[in-house]
Amino acid sequence: MAKRIDVSGLTAYYGAHKAIEDISMTVEPRSVTAFIGPSGCGKSTFLRTLNRMHEVTPGGRVEGKVLLDSEDLYGAGVDPVAVRREVGMVFQRPNPFPTMSIFDNVAAGLRLNGGYKKSELADVVEKSLRGANLWNEVKDRLNKPGAGLSGGQQQRLCIARAIAVEPKVLLMDEPCSALDPISTLAIEDLMGKLKEQFTIVIVTHNMQQAARVSDRTAFFNLAGVGQPGRLIELDDTERIFSNPSVQATEDYISGRFG
């Protein structure tokens, strides 16, 4: 079910500003790939190009190719709405729909397409909440508003919402940066479980987190202020953290950066 992503020659703009330039990489299915790098290096922008969310920002524009199992997301005739069903996303700050109950939040994506019976919906909601390690905590209050949960629970609710529509890829944009250490741990555990089923890409500022959860790590960097971000190297996480092939990566990881 998980899919491979092949990016080639990808450049993204905000208006006239070039945010990332000429990025090519492969993301393996059923694995966790972490993006690390200093602030402003374009790793989040790059992540958002992988499900065509970049273009919803005013002035956002993309050149290059992103192949999802050999299908170009930016090809002629591709519907960005369909792309986002294939490639789900979890955001930095938990963003459950504030007016919806926990149940409705998880079911939101399914209801868009319609055609589900009530019992089917309930099954998928339970499965997704279990998948997000949240079921036991919320099963008795599915009709309460999602905004009433703790930050960590909200984030897992958002993950449940994302996986309910059975995407092929799950993008996570610093999913733990707004959470406390215990909630972070819960989400990191969850990632290990989710990767059996999904291709996971995570942007993180926390290098220990990248080392803990990811199979492969990509390091992004800027050539200078106002310059576009670039991919410096992508390798097995173990290699990146023990013996990177580029000096800049080693500097960043060992804290000698900047």
């Binding site: 069903r85 504030p98 994506g109 958002c158």
Partner: protein
């Protein structure tokens, strides 16, 4: 203006530098210095004056109204007549209340959906280059005086309604509500349409601001689930903006209920309640006051004041409801901030 005048006559005691802590304590306690006392007195006095005005409005209107109502030989609430000149006087607000409510409902039914659509157009559909200037123009249109809307309504809108009325009568005349005897189209429907045009800019402006405040992350949540633009609006924009739109509508409703000139110019009034929105007739509180005022005796004026008091109470209730909704929304958005 006045600020400079009282600054001079208070003749501040030379502000001897004091330790900051004691200074703050003084400020917190109220005002111990002369300058502070005078200034506080002035500002608090203005606030109290404002309260007094409100109380006086209610009090004097009620007093004059009671003079009239006590001599009313009809039932003030249910009489279908307004004869304050005859002996004994007989007058009642039934027709006016009916007309005011009907014309406002028509206006709301037309204006609210259109205003919400325009607000969505400006925030989510229009190209950026277009939405800025259009918002600006709509802001300005909200400032056009109602008498100009009235003049336009009477001289331009009314002649254009003939065709629509004929068509409505042909196809929907059987409902009774939309039948037309062919009189001049100076009826409640025309009034409602004109009021709708008038309150459209106000409701649009407020709704637009509310939609603009929808947190980006709620919209992105919907987008990332594979929602189309309309689905994003339905899932995150409308639920977030609902209470804001309601309070915007209430503001518009308050304006429509109390509008005088736009109704007075367009409606050809009489003291009948008609089932049809298309046949001329009926009246509203404000319109009735404006048209009857110049020929009214002192007693007639008191009777008009009595009807104004009712209008006052109605608008108070509507505005109170709007404020409550806004207050609730503040709590709600605060919880999610």
């Amino acid at each position: 203006m006045d600020i400079s005048t009282h600054k001079t006559h208070t003749g501040a005691p030379a502000p001897t530098p004091r330790p900051a802590a004691s200074q703050r304590k003084h400020a917190a306690r109220g005002a111990t210095r002369l300058g502070d006392r005078v200034f506080l007195g002035l500002t608090r006095g203005s606030g109290i004056l404002l309260l007094a005005i409100m109380v006086a409005i209610a009090g004097f209107l009620a007093y004059r109204a009671s003079l009239a109502i006590s001599k009313d030989h009809g039932n003030f609430l249910t009489t279908f007549e307004w004869n304050t000149g005859q002996q004994p006087p007989v007058f009642g607000i039934a027709v006016l209340a009916f007309g005011t409510v009907v014309s406002s409902i028509v206006a709301m039914v037309i204006a609210v959906p259109v205003a919400v659509a325009i607000a969505l157009f400006l925030t989510h559909y229009a190209p950026r280059r277009l939405s800025g200037p259009i918002s600006y123009v709509i802001d300005l249109l909200a400032a056009v005086p109602s008498i100009v809307y009235g003049l336009w309504g009477a001289l331009i809108l009314v002649p254009h309604m003939n065709g629509l009325f004929g068509w409505l009568n042909d196809y929907f005349g059987w409902t009774g509500v939309l039948s037309w005897e062919g009189g001049p189209p100076r009826s409640m429907l025309t009034v409602g349409i004109l009021l709708a045009v008038m309150i459209l800019p106000i409701i649009t402006n407020v709704s637009r601001e509310v939609f603009r405040q929808v947190p980006r992350m709620h919209e992105e949540a919907a987008l990332a689930l594979g929602a189309t633009r309309w689905e994003v609006i339905r899932m995150s924009v409308l639920p977030f903006g609902r209470s804001g739109v309601i309070s915007a509508s209430m503001l518009g409703l308050g304006r429509a209920l109390g509008e005088t000139m736009a109704v007075a110019t367009v409606l050809s009034p009489n003291f009948l309640i008609k089932a049809s929105l298309l046949d001329p007739g009926g009246g509203t509180f404000a319109q009735n006051i404006a048209s009857k005022f110049s020929e009214a005796s002192e007693f007639g004026r008191d009777a008009l004041i009595a009807s104004g008091l009712v209008l006052f109470v109605i608008t108070l209730l509507v505005n109170g409801a709007a404020r409550m909704i806004i207050a609730r929304r503040k709590e709600y958005s605060g919880a999610n901030a």
